[in-house]
Symmetry: C2
Subunit: 329 residues, 2 copies
């Protein structure tokens, strides 16, 4: 299949329309510096159905070839079907679960993640959350900030990271980076994923319940799919046990959040470090008062380097488009 790119040959004369759903965090700066290249169609700023929105902008749906999005707004089959010339979706996330990939495949729409340069940052964050929960750093920081001489230190002892059996759920790029880091802390790594990985020496568990039973820590790094939604349910948490810790840098809905809240409140697991939640940006209010959780607002990847890298990547969407087109020829 060949995607015509003649539209871009005269982009000095005509602005390339770019349909933006869910603005990337750097969008404001990106827009101001690229207004000579793109006609920004900001679907996130108006609460209208897509076709009505495009009508208000005097834009023909068939002129749209590129979408820019993040995880905040799903790119459904319905959206894709409304844009007959759509050829490329650029998402500023690592995951793709907000995009209807089967429909993209069927239509030959390419999907490019700009978030992948933050793989290492997310892995760092996972390790940071784990150390924080085990050695209760954020809780200690809260204690120090409220310290009064008469109030004794009342946090329970921490738990050492060395020697812990860490079950990685989803040994993809992020999971692999987490494993590499935790090996340096003398952890024993095991994993669960759809298939056993060749060339990987870590113990594989095809069953998540078995992984949990044999782990002290679960680090969730996989994508959200119909199969993985709520895979970490109450049964898995009880198998992990009272000293168990869960770190989630994947997607909130990998965990049955209600069950997690119950287990954390009752001490049925030791603690959790969470960068993601089921209904972001909402965080279950029961967690707010607990000392055995560390809460982060899906902020793992938000480093200044991420902003710089994403910015430079987005500035070259035209090149990405042409590369993707050439792959299809």
């Amino acid at each position: 299949m060949a995607v015509a790119d003649e539209h871009y040959q005269d982009d000095n004369k005509e602005l390339q329309p770019l349909l933006v759903f869910g603005p990337p965090l750097i969008f404001e700066v990106f827009e101001s510096r690229n207004s000579h290249k793109y006609l920004f169609l900001k679907a996130f700023s108006i609460q209208l159905p897509l076709l009505e929105f495009l009508t208000t902008q005097n834009v023909d749906p068939s002129s749209i070839r590129t979408i820019l999005c993040n995880q905040l707004q799903p790119i459904t089959a319905n959206v894709i079907r409304l844009l007959p010339s759509l050829a490329l979706i650029v998402t500023t996330t690592i995951g793709n679960d907000h995009i209807d990939l089967p429909e993209c495949n069927r239509r030959g729409v390419q999907v490019v993640n700009v978030g992948s340069q933050s793989t290492e940052d997310v892995a760092d964050m996972a390790v940071g959350l784990l150390i924080d929960v085990l050695y209760r750093i954020s809780a200690a920081d809260r204690y120090v900030r409220k310290w009064v001489p008469s109030k004794p230190w009342n946090l329970p002892p921490g738990s050492k990271l060395g020697g812990k059996r860490v079950g990685i759920v989803g040994l993809g790029r992020i999971g692999g980076e987490v494993a590499k880091r935790l090996e340096a802390f003398n952890c024993r790594i095991m994993y669960h994923s759809r298939h056993k990985k060749p060339f990987v020496s870590y113990t594989f568990y095809s069953n998540i319940l078995e992984l949990a039973s044999n782990s002290d820590v679960l680090v969730l790094c996989c994508s959200l799919t119909d199969e993985t939604r709520h895979m970490i349910n109450r049964e898995v948490m009880l198998a992990l046990g009272k000293e168990g810790v869960i770190v989630n840098v994947g997607r909130g809905a990998l965990i049955d959040e209600n069950a997690l809240v119950q287990c954390l409140m009752k001490g049925e697991i030791r603690g959790a470090g969470l960068d993601v939640f089921e209904n972001e940006p909402e965080v279950p209010k029961e967690l707010i008062t607990l000392d055995n959780v560390v809460l982060s607002p899906h902020a793992a990847a938000l480093t200044s380097d991420y902003f710089t890298d994403t910015f430079s990547f987005l500035s070259n969407i035209k090149d990405i488009f042409q590369q993707e087109c050439s792959k299809l020829r």
Copy 2:
């Protein structure tokens, strides 16, 4: 030199006196389980000069052969001189800077650290504090716990750990463990210590100012001595620079704390992760409101494993004593 140990040959009949300065955190349990072995002389519970205290206990100073202490009370030359039979000081810390080591050497008093099993925990904590400062985990946790829908995320972007040039100050056991861990995060390790270490490939800087100029991060892991007191002064912090981060798991007084507070408040360095302070348990009140610091109450080593290990170690002080004596024969 031979230290007589006949005192211990009949310890089934007679309790071994144990002079305790600065109770280890597990002291209460330790005491209750070992009252059949030791006569605990709790110098920490009474505000009397040592000799007066021993008089109130009907104990002859020359019967004291062992001291148990932590960092909260210094074991000065004066204390050592008052105890003519002193042969062993057991400290439940990693550092020794609260003990007059030259006087111990002169007198042939052995010093044993029970804290060394927490070397790895302290290294883990150093990495945890560093990740926390760079990816501002504790600050984000505070933000989430106070989140209201109308209040935007206002923390500055984080800074990625990968690629950072990390200067380890004091490449002893803890420093070595920190270096090993940070290599797995793709950091470039360099170090400063009294002498260049043979068999170590990291770049060595004999001058702390040069190390700071060439580092993005300083991790302080050395002991406190007359040479290292306030070695991290304003000049060193300015050499580290605006993006620089300091992590201190050594001793508070390694840093000129007033200068640190100024640099953090003015943004002359990026941030700091501090497990130790100059006047513990006091923390400079200016730091309490800053988002670019993570504050921990000298709690790195306080894991439940530490308690168990120290407990088991202390229960065998008699064996330690005999081992130390046999080394001297």
